[in-house]
Amino acid sequence: MTLFRLLFRNAFRNRLRSALTILGVTVAILAFGLLRTLIGAWYAGVEASSATRLVTRNAVSLIFPLPFSYKEKIRQVSGVKSVSWGNWFGGIYIDEKNFFANYAVDPETYLSLYPEFILSPADKAVFLRDRKGFLAGRKLADKYRWQPGDTVTLRGTIFPGNWDFVLRGIYRGRDENVDESQFIFHWSYLNETLKKTAPARADQVGFYMIGVEHPDVAGEVAAAIDRMFKNSMAETLTETEKAFQLGFIAMTGAIVTAIQIVSFVVIFIIMAVVANTMAMTTRERFGEYAVMKTLGFRGKHLAALILGESLVITLLGCALGIALTYPAAALIKEKLGTYFPIFNVDAHTIYLDLAAAFLVGVVAALIPLSRAIGIRIAEGLRRIA
């Protein structure tokens, strides 16, 4: 008990310095936590993927379509429960900076494959009836203040022209991993229009989403589908939804790695700051340490004092930083929702925060500690801070 009181008293002997150091640790922990969450946001698609969904696409690359006729063939593969299909539309709403994902999908099968999109039965019925209708996620609709019945025009980049859609429903996510900023419309609207304007591009599908009966058969089903279309005009590549999403992340791997490295740099920066504080503190107290040694305290007692003080400072800063991480993440989610639809602080991040603060506390105490232990009594008493 006395040790703790001593630690706190010591830590706040120089109020300004301790307060500044704690503030520094708070900022660093906050930055570290947000960067970790940012990396988590990158992997959000992976987290949200289901083990019972497969994605089939053209083996050459995503920009090549698959024939619509594959649908029936895939449906016949044993283990396949349902098949949906769609195209990445790549439309632009007014300006390029208003980016959001927009897909043309077969609505009925797609919604049954994605039970995590929650939609009222009435809205669903209206959406399914209207070929020009679209569904928007809650966040997307909030951002642009779309009301059901509003007409929204997208400018096609892959499919030229201006495309009009009518908002028929707003979906919510079942849990916070679900992306609530997508724009989904009828594939038949796209296809029927293409039949008139660009018949060569009609009846082609960007990807098939396949629901399998059980996660265990996913591997076999994927292999069976790819085998079926081997040596055909459009060979397929079938992966679980998770592998498909991971493939996307791998492509931007360099950026994820950079953010990861940078998130550790901030820990090193704060390490230097805390080490500096501890070095100053102990230098000022060399005389004191000499007195304590004279009284019979050993090196280990001094070590406990210095280490303890360093940990008091870093852990206080860490607690403040963690407390601020949640409102900061909520703010980012609100302001930058288009770029990071999912921005949730993970429990794992908090453990990392604590580990980092602990590490900083220990490392920062090392040099001052070794100096204080090594000091000779006479020398310490003679020395003026």
Binding site: V60, S61, L62, I63, M251, A272, A385
Partner: protein, 388 residues
């Protein structure tokens, strides 16, 4: 009287450990600051230098990149008849109808997939891009199933090396040459015969038409005339502008990310400097009193401490930049969001980045030092001498 600079230098030297730790903190911030700016600069430079000013890219209206675009054969034929197109030494048109598609290839090291640009070229394509130099093997023969790969593809992707085979569109394509276009986008592409690729991928239309202008001034003329032409649904862009646009979004993303990060990080480093400077002031209270008694003005004391903190910042900036300059040896290969394809580029240090990094470091030093220096300057002579 102004306090000599050696006074400041010696003060820093006496408290070596503290000085070193403060500088280390600032150096790390400057390192991150410079690194991210260098990354964004490298990306932009690579794409901007890819284009030539006198080359014109023709893509479908509304398409953002060649990959999304399609130019039908009859439209390409209309473009081909324009008088502004330059002629080569043998009287051939300096115009190439090209096909651009993406193929997925596994990386050599990790095996993870990347989207690689596959460009179907015509005979004039190489003449239009004099930056492209063959470094191994030979050029693919026109009309054959041979290809040549850019050097960053040859090094990084399976199937991209010399004499390796790529398999797509139900055919096998042999890499017969490797070319280097320096730090340009072409180094991250694979080139093969356009007509062969079109039949392999069942593409009825080209992706783009590239031509050289006879004289640079002719651009507005040909653009105005052809964009009015009812037979065409295309856009004309100078190649430099076309490639510059493809780096905008991602470079902006990197810059914003970088600035936000370094602003937050710099708080930590500024606090570090502030702690150091407050300690310096507290430890030298008696000294400050003596200096004032000797006749040095408040101004001089303020300047001396501010100099000390600015010096800390400058040293941090120099160390950070020194470390960051080694990054130039590293080449990054990642997907450009805008084109959805792999692009290799290196960290690029420009004088502008050097200046802004040093300025940033000085600002950190200033903000960290201004409050402690003011405290030192405000001290009353008597009080200061008494505490000392």
């Amino acid at each position: 009287m102004i306090l000599p600079i050696s006074y400041t230098l010696r003060n820093l030297w006496t408290r070596r450990l503290t000085t070193a730790l403060t500088i280390a903190g600032m150096a790390l911030v400057v390192f991150v600051f410079a690194a991210i700016l260098m990354l964004a600069e490298g990306l932009q430079k690579t794409l901007v230098e890819t284009g030539s000013f006198d080359n014109i890219v023709v893509i479908r209206k509304g398409a953002v990149s060649e990959v999304q675009s399609s130019v039908a054969r009859d439209q390409a034929a209309v473009v081909e008849t324009e008088p502004e197109i330059a002629l080569g030494p043998e009287g051939q048109l300096l115009l190439a109808r090209e096909l651009v598609v993406l193929i997925t290839l596994p990386k050599r090291v990790t095996g993870s997939p990347g989207n690689v640009v596959l460009r179907g070229i015509a005979s004039a394509s190489v003449t239009l891009r004099p930056q492209v130099k063959l470094v191994a093997g030979r050029r693919p023969r026109p009309g054959s199933m041979e290809m040549m790969a850019g050097i960053s593809i040859a090094q990084r992707f399976q199937g991209g090396g010399l004499n390796e085979t790529l398999c797509c569109g139900m055919r096998n394509w042999r890499i017969v040459g490797v070319f280097d276009a320096g730090n340009r986008g072409y180094s991250s592409e694979i080139w093969g015969d356009a007509d062969q690729l079109m039949s392999a991928f069942r593409r009825p239309a080209y992706s783009s038409v590239i031509f050289r202008l006879r004289d640079s001034e002719g651009f507005e003329r040909v653009k105005a005339r052809l964009e009015q032409d009812p037979r065409l649904t295309v856009e004309f862009k100078r190649e430099t502008k076309y490639y510059a646009e493809q780096s905008e979004l991602m470079a902006k993303f990197l810059r914003i990310l970088g600035l936000t990060l370094t602003l937050i990080f710099s708080l930590g480093a500024m606090i570090g400097a502030m702690i150091t400077m407050y300690a310096a002031v507290a430890n030298r209270t008696g000294e400050i009193g003596t200096l004032r008694a000797l006749g040095f003005q408040r101004r001089d004391i303020l300047m001396a401490f501010l100099m000390e903190s600015l010096l800390l910042g400058l040293l941090g900036g120099v160390v950070g930049l020194f470390l960051a300059s080694f990054l130039q040896l590293i080449t990054v290969s990642t997907m450009n969001f805008q084109t959805f394809s792999e692009l290799a580029f290196s960290f690029t240090l420009t004088p502008k980045i050097v200046i802004s990094s040093l300025l940033f470091a000085l600002i950190m030093g200033f903000v960290g030092g201004v409050l402690p220096a003011m405290r030192a300057a405000r001290m009353k002579i008597v009080d200061a001498l008494r505490t000392g």
